[in-house]
Symmetry: C2
Subunit: 306 residues, 2 copies
């Protein structure tokens, strides 16, 4: 059985866009319960200034808590070198920086041009190296941008190469905007892997904005992707456009992977129960997912075993 | 560009489970508008006794109407030889009979054992041949049954062969229960095609019960499937389990196929407008779909064109 790492990003990508701040104790309970369900990597938060994202202000405490959980890879997002220094101090296992392939989005999101981002990546890579922390660059808006539209695939490849030269250890391709289609996923994964090495490009970060999230995940698996980001309950969607922009739903992804016979190490029945923690802490936040509504198939336990 | 036929089954599979009966004029408007959006095949209804399914009582009138639309393949479901005779009289281009791979489900749904179904298929095949009507057998519950659980793949192959010997011209594999996973879709499509001939097994009928519908469609495309059933707005879901059991959503499927560069012949912007007809006629029925909420991507018109 091929092992696939499902990386839970809900406490970061999901919670950064909720209106209410989830209390620290609820975040801890969520992370603990997911780890107990078999999830082996969780992005617990981001090291952005608390004044900008109060939802993420307790990330250092969460990192410290998550580090006490055995066999859990504790990762966080860092927007820049300053955040990287804070992440290193907090003791993360891994950190990732979003590098937007759309320069328009990069300027708007992190106020940096592409050359400025490459310089930032160089500094973050040094911080990570010094602290012996795994460092990944998330190639965000790689499949299209809501401001620029199409992003040239050759541009993505060129920027990934520049980031590799600046010290990025690993890459993920991020469909930040929910633009990706499966044919494009296959093409771009293949091109970036050819440029930076297949062993350094193993992760997809997908959103389910147009319902293609799991189809895109399948396309990635077929190209050798072995890590998939997902968010419990698909949280992170805009409350004014139901179902419109959250991450792919961890529960549905795990149902698909386990049914297909991939080894995720995740107990789906336990995972489904974790929703109760999130629902109780954020009662006004819609939780998505089809498998939670429909339940497991009668033959679930025997699928993919032959 | 590879052509893919998107076969709209909403007026049959969707409407048969709605609580309110959609008025004939609304059905006509829906069918007409979808054909104008470029949909080339519509399953307009089923020839079941009106006492059992009042929602389908106007199927003969709908067939007559749909036959006046140029370049539209007008198909209907028939449960048995009696229905087939009525369908032939009404003037369908094609008819299909559901042949449940779960004998428990077959006995419950059509009150026939597997041997009795094979005999029925033989009679229907004769009716179809005499009337020069295309005849397909839908291998339903092929990916699992809510009563029997797993359906042995060798059983599906054996029953498909028996149906072929009884005169079935063509086959579709139906995930009636939303049990399918992409690995299983690939295996079963391959096995049934090997048994009955690839040119006779070109269609998948998928439900989105556990959110895997489009991933399963992608798996089918990769095995050479060229016809995909879908339902506008994914209608047909149980109102007591939101999102839980409708067909795959035509709008999301067309978004995926067109973005990937497949030639569906469907104008998605026109198709999205058809939802208004269904929403107005069945205001209490939830309409599903992600693309309708999120809208098209900025680069939609240029995708898949290179």
């Amino acid at each position: 059985m091929t092992g696939i790492l499902v990386s839970e990003v809900g406490p970061r990508d999901g919670l950064q866009s909720t209106q209410r701040v989830m209390p620290l104790e609820a975040k801890k309970a969520w992370i603990k319960a997911e780890a107990e369900a078999g999830v082996r990597e969780i992005e617990v938060g981001s090291f952005v200034p608390p004044s900008l994202l109060p939802q993420m202000a307790d990330t250092p405490e969460l990192v410290a808590f998550a580090r006490t959980i055995p066999n859990l890879n504790v990762v966080a997002l860092v927007p820049n070198a300053k955040g990287a220094a804070r992440a290193a101090e907090a003791g993360v296992h891994g950190m990732s920086i979003p590098f937007s392939m759309s320069e328009t989005h990069s300027l708007k999101n992190l106020r940096k041009s592409h050359p400025e981002m490459i310089e930032e990546i160089r500094v973050v890579a040094e911080i990570a190296r010094d602290a012996d922390i795994h460092f990944a660059v998330g190639l965000s808006t790689a499949f299209g941008c809501t401001m620029e539209g199409m992003i040239g695939e050759d541009n993505v490849v060129r920027l990934a190469e520049q980031a590799a030269n600046a010290g990025a250890q690993e890459f993920s391709l991020s469909d930040t905007t929910g633009y990706a289609d499966p044919a494009q996923v296959k093409r771009l994964v293949r091109k970036v892997r050819a440029a930076v090495g297949a062993d350094r490009m193993t992760t997809l970060h997908l959103h389910n904005t147009r319902g293609l999230g799991l189809a895109n995940a399948l396309a990635g698996l077929e190209e050798g992707i072995t890590t998939l980001d997902a968010s419990l309950g698909g949280i992170g969607g805009c409350p004014f456009a139901p179902g419109a922009s959250g991450n792919i739903v961890t529960e549905d992804l795990v149902f698909m992977l386990n049914s297909m016979g991939y080894d995720t190490g995740i107990d789906l029945e336990k995972l489904l129960k974790v929703r109760e923690i999130v629902a109780a802490a954020l009662p006004e936040e819609p939780l998505y997912g089809f498998t939670p509504d429909a339940g497991l198939t009668l033959d679930y336990g025997t699928r993919g075993k032959s």
